[in-house]
């Protein structure tokens, strides 16, 4: 466990949005598992921080929730992306790519000098 990196604040929201875009409606446990799997089990989602993050996204109107029934007949709360959430995802993904591109340029060995 200890060698796994915790998901750092701020990126969790982006990962949740992306997961919901890919998977459609999903419950909290499913979102967490999916993020861990996508990361190739390199990331560990702190389930305790997931629920407040979901609530925040819901309050901001990016996701919506409703009670439903899971595959194995268990009552669960399902989250899905809203239209504004889709736009937000697009915007945040773009921002993130830009940031990483800039950082990459900083960190890559310089070719000119």
């Amino acid at each position: 466990m200890t060698d796994k990196a915790d998901v750092w604040q701020g990126t969790l929201a982006l990962m949740v949005l992306k997961t919901l875009e890919t998977m459609g409606a999903l419950h909290g446990y499913g979102i967490a598992r999916r993020i861990e799997q996508t990361s190739g089990e390199l990331l560990s989602v702190n389930y305790g921080t997931l629920y407040p993050a979901l609530l925040k996204l819901e309050q901001e109107g990016f996701i919506a929730s409703e009670w439903g029934v899971s595959d194995n007949n268990r009552k669960a709360k399902y989250y899905k992306l809203t239209r504004t959430g889709r736009k937000q995802l697009e915007k945040e993904a773009q921002d993130w790519q830009q940031t990483t591109a800039i950082l990459a340029r900083f960190l890559s060995p310089s070719e000119e000098s």
């Binding site: 446990y29 499913g30 389930y47 921080t49 629920y51 407040p52 309050q59 901001e60 709360k77």
Partner: protein, 883 residues
């Protein structure tokens, strides 16, 4: 946008907590079950599966906690929690709470009340639609000694035709007429106005319609608008009064509407009529005579025009007229015209007094605030253990700070609520007081602005008084738990803080007491001014004869003669007389220039106040006759015209010569008036005003239609008022008498404004003194109770009780003295503001300063005496054991 949305949802999150908690629990439960099932599928034992799932989820409770924080607004929730806790703490200390709330209520209430006045009178725009564009237009010859002469009809027409700055120039004058058609004849004060007068002010009638241009055409049917106050007073607010008819000046007048309740300026009128309905204003001679000035003019400036531009426009017009009519505007009448903002005219008398009162109320609040801070500090000492326990249990410093601040907010909110109740009670009195300064007094209400102001004051007070105590607790309490003895001696800086508060309370109280003392001294001086007449046992009432019935001098003269003869014989009447005006009533006399026989009249002429009186006027008012004789019944138009001057005029115009036998003329020598007597000076315009040059002339020579009766009685004057009025009805049943009052009352009214100002300031000062004294006493008592041990030691090693008493008293005395010195310095600087309100008292009146200092010192020392005596009675054996 999204933050706003989230904020609303989070506000919503404050409600239905249980249901939401249940949903979260279910969600987490299903999460856990799914995880366990997954773990089972991957081959774990049931126990292991559950254990791993729980580990991965982390602390369920802390998850729930952070979820809840996100769901609601933790800030608000903490606040509500703090409020509940604070209310509980305050309930548990009813003594402290009662004293603090009452102190704050007095301070805040005083401010709310005075602010409601300042807001209504000085801050709010005029309640007329076009308020800021309205001006008062004045005309006069200030350089020739005529500050304000009014307007004649031809002049008004000139201004109206030639100006470029005004949307409307409307005229106004006020007269008393008799209204018939009700049970008794009624004297109604009537505003005579242009048809568009109310349109210019932007005033719409409450009932019926306003005047129209047709109403002011010559020969139009006569119409009336009632003022709101008259409508309520005389008709009980009956809406059917519209279209009713009444007889005035022998004509039928139809009521067409009722005006809304608005300040009336310059006079409070009962009814309004168009200019053509006024028998004086519509007289052809009056309308043609350029020098017959009896009108006032108001202007509605065009948008964007300044008062200065309007003034130069007006002045150009009158200078033009001066070139055209040089005989009407001779060099001795150096005419000018100007405009003044109506708003300033309405409120200029009130400004200084109201701001002084606001300052005084602010000082009271400052003292109250200092006192509550001190109470809070004292309480902190007792709460140290509680705070230390809470800190030990994990309450952060900021969390404790917030808690204490919330408590103090609760306290000042309660104070503000109670203060508003006080203010509500006081406002009725304030309205009648402020009405002596400005017609805007009627606009004073506890409205939204005042409530907002009160709330703001409460917040500021709670921040100031609360944060001092809370900051102080932050310094001291944390980590105090293990010291065990919480009743340790007070820290040096805390004692310094408390002493500072006491000193400032004494200093500010001193300021307030000085202000009140100066006003009181000034009022007492005013009260002792010799008015030059005796107001005791004089009954006065105003008669305005019906113009159409008594339309000649002879008829009016006959009425007055018959009436005075009849009154003279009434039981209880010592002497009966009449005058066009009488002292201190605030009516303007006729100011006129005149020629003195044998002197060069090419220079600018002397000016005097001409007063019309009947024989016996001086006797009824006990005004001494120094030279010559009083008027008699023989001084009639068929006899030589005579006059009596006052001493000031005699000295002024004739120096050491005897004026009796000298002659003056008001028509440049065509006819001469012989002076037959010299009487004593009388304060006509107010007890604080100078005496002007007065020339009395007999009523028989100028029988005006408005006369005040002055009846010297041998009994209480008001007790025979009804009988006197009956005598008037016997001569003419249609003749009403108005403004029935005793001359004593008139005199009291003339000094009512300074008296009430002194009273109000005195009230504030007493409040301040009481609060400050209680504060000093309280702090000394606390200090004694904390020094019990030390005092015990001192006594055990041989100190006498008297020495202990002196020690505590001198501690109080030092604080008081420092406060007095600071207050003295402040007062010397600040009382200059009062200069304009004081009469014959300098703002640094030594007597007031010494007296106030003594009063304050005595009050402070007596407040210290109780705790000091308790200290002196400390039993050393008990004191030493108490630790």
């Amino acid at each position: 946008m999204k933050t706003l949305r989230a904020l609303f949802l989070r506000l919503g999150g404050l409600f239905h907590k249980e249901q939401r908690d249940r949903e979260l629990a279910e969600e987490i439960e299903s999460h856990l079950q799914m995880h366990i099932e997954d773990n089972l599928r991957s081959g774990m034992t049931p126990e292991e599966a559950r254990r791993q799932a729980l580990i991965k989820l982390g602390g369920v409770e802390s998850t729930k906690e952070s979820y809840r924080d996100r769901r609601g607004l933790p800030f608000v929730e903490t606040f509500i929690q703090d409020l509940r806790f604070g209310a509980r703490m305050l309930r548990r200390n009813p003594g402290f709470t009662a004293v603090a709330v009452l102190t704050l209520a007095l301070g805040i209430g005083a401010n709310s009340a005075i602010f409601s006045v300042v807001n209504a009178v000085l801050l709010k725009p005029l309640p007329y639609e076009n308020g800021e564009r309205l001006v008062v237009v004045k005309q006069g010859a200030p350089r020739s000694g005529f500050p304000d002469v009014g307007f004649s009809v031809p002049e008004i027409l000139d201004y109206r035709a030639q100006n470029r700055s005004f949307d409307a120039l409307v005229e106004y004058h006020s007269m008393a007429f008799i209204l018939l058609g009700r049970k008794e004849p009624e004297r109604v004060q009537t505003g005579v106005v242009s048809w568009n007068f109310f349109d210019a002010f932007g005033v719409k009638p409450l009932l019926g319609r306003a005047f129209r241009a047709d109403d002011e055409k010559p020969g139009a049917p006569a119409v009336l608008l009632l003022s709101y106050e008259y409508w309520i007073r005389s008709f009980g607010g009956d809406p059917t009064v519209v279209n009713k008819t009444f007889t005035m000046n022998d004509r039928l007048h139809t009521v067409i509407g009722v005006l809304p309740p608005l300040p009336q300026y310059p006079d409070e009128n009962d009814v309004y009529m168009p200019t053509t309905a006024c028998p004086f204003r519509s007289d052809p001679q009056m309308m043609a005579n350029r020098s017959d000035r009896m009108m006032n003019v108001f202007g509605l400036m065009k948008p964007g025009v300044s008062v200065r531009q309007a003034t130069s426009d007006l002045n150009g017009i009158i200078l033009n007229a001066q070139r055209t009519y040089p005989d009407v505007y001779p060099p001795s009448f150096d005419v000018a015209a100007w405009a003044l903002s109506l708003r300033e005219q309405l409120t200029q008398n009130a400004r200084t007094t109201m701001l002084v009162l606001l300052g005084a109320a602010g000082f009271v609040l400052l003292i109250a605030c200092a006192n509550v801070t001190n109470l809070n500090l004292a309480r902190m000492v007792k709460r140290e253990r509680e705070l230390a326990v809470r800190a030990a249990l994990g309450a952060g410093r900021n969390r404790l700070f917030r808690q204490l601040l919330t408590e103090s907010f609760l306290l000042s909110l309660a104070g503000a609520a109670l203060g508003l109740l006080f203010a509500q009670d006081g406002i009725g009195l304030l309205v009648s007081y402020v009405a002596r300064f400005t017609p805007r007094a009627r606009e004073i209400h506890l409205d939204g602005t005042v409530l907002l102001f009160t709330l703001a004051v409460a917040v500021v007070v709670s921040l100031v008084s609360g944060s001092v105590a809370a900051l102080d607790s932050r310094e001291h309490n944390i980590g105090n738990l293990k010291e065990g003895s919480v009743q340790s001696t007070i820290g040096l800086d805390r004692r310094r803080l408390r002493n500072f508060l006491i000193v400032s309370q004494v200093a500010v109280s001193f300021l307030l007491l000085i202000g009140a003392g100066l006003m009181l001294r000034s009022f007492l001086k005013l009260q002792h001014v010799d008015p030059g007449f005796e107001p005791e046992n004089v009954l006065t009432m105003r008669l305005n004869l019906n113009f159409t019935k008594y339309n000649t001098d002879n008829k009016r003269r006959a009425f007055y003669d018959a009436l005075l003869d009849k009154l003279q014989t009434q039981p209880g009447v010592l002497s009966a007389a009449g005058g066009m005006t009488f002292p201190l009533i605030g009516m303007d006399p006729m100011s006129n220039d005149f020629t003195i026989e044998g002197r060069d009249s090419a220079q600018s002429l002397p000016i005097g106040d001409f007063r019309i009186v009947t024989p016996g006027y001086f006797h009824a008012l006990r005004i001494p006759l120094f030279e010559g004789r009083d008027f008699t019944r023989q001084d009639r138009p068929d006899a030589p015209v005579v006059a009596i001057v006052n001493r000031t005029a005699a000295h002024h115009f004739w120096g050491t010569q005897d004026p009796v036998g000298k002659r003056i003329s008001t028509d440049k020598g065509k006819t001469w008036i012989q002076i037959v007597g010299v009487v004593g000076d009388v304060k006509q315009y107010g007890l604080d005003k100078d005496v002007s040059d007065e020339i009395y002339i007999p009523l028989a020579d100028s029988p005006v239609s408005g006369v005040s009766l002055l009846i010297k009685t041998s009994v209480e004057p008001m007790s025979i008022a009804r009988r006197i009025i009956q005598q008037i009805y016997q001569i003419d049943p249609d003749q009403p008498a108005a403004r029935v009052q005793s001359l004593e009352q008139v005199r009291a009214d003339s000094v009512a404004a300074p008296r009430l100002t002194a009273n109000l300031l005195g009230l504030f000062a007493l409040l301040a003194l009481a609060i400050a004294a209680a504060g000093i006493g309280g702090v000394m008592a606390l200090s004694v109770s904390q020094r019990t041990h030390e005092i015990g030691v001192r006594m055990a090693i041989g100190a006498w009780p008297r020495e202990i008493l002196r020690m505590i008293l001198s501690q109080g005395l030092v604080l008081t003295t420092v406060g007095l010195v600071l207050g003295f310095l402040g007062a010397v600087g600040l009382t200059r503001i009062l200069r304009g309100l004081l009469f014959e008292v300098t703002p640094t009146d030594p007597l007031t300063f010494v007296g106030v200092g003594a009063v304050l010192a005595i009050a402070a020392l007596s407040a210290c005496y109780v705790p000091a005596r308790r200290a002196a009675r400390v039993d050393p054996t008990v004191a030493l054991r108490c630790e």
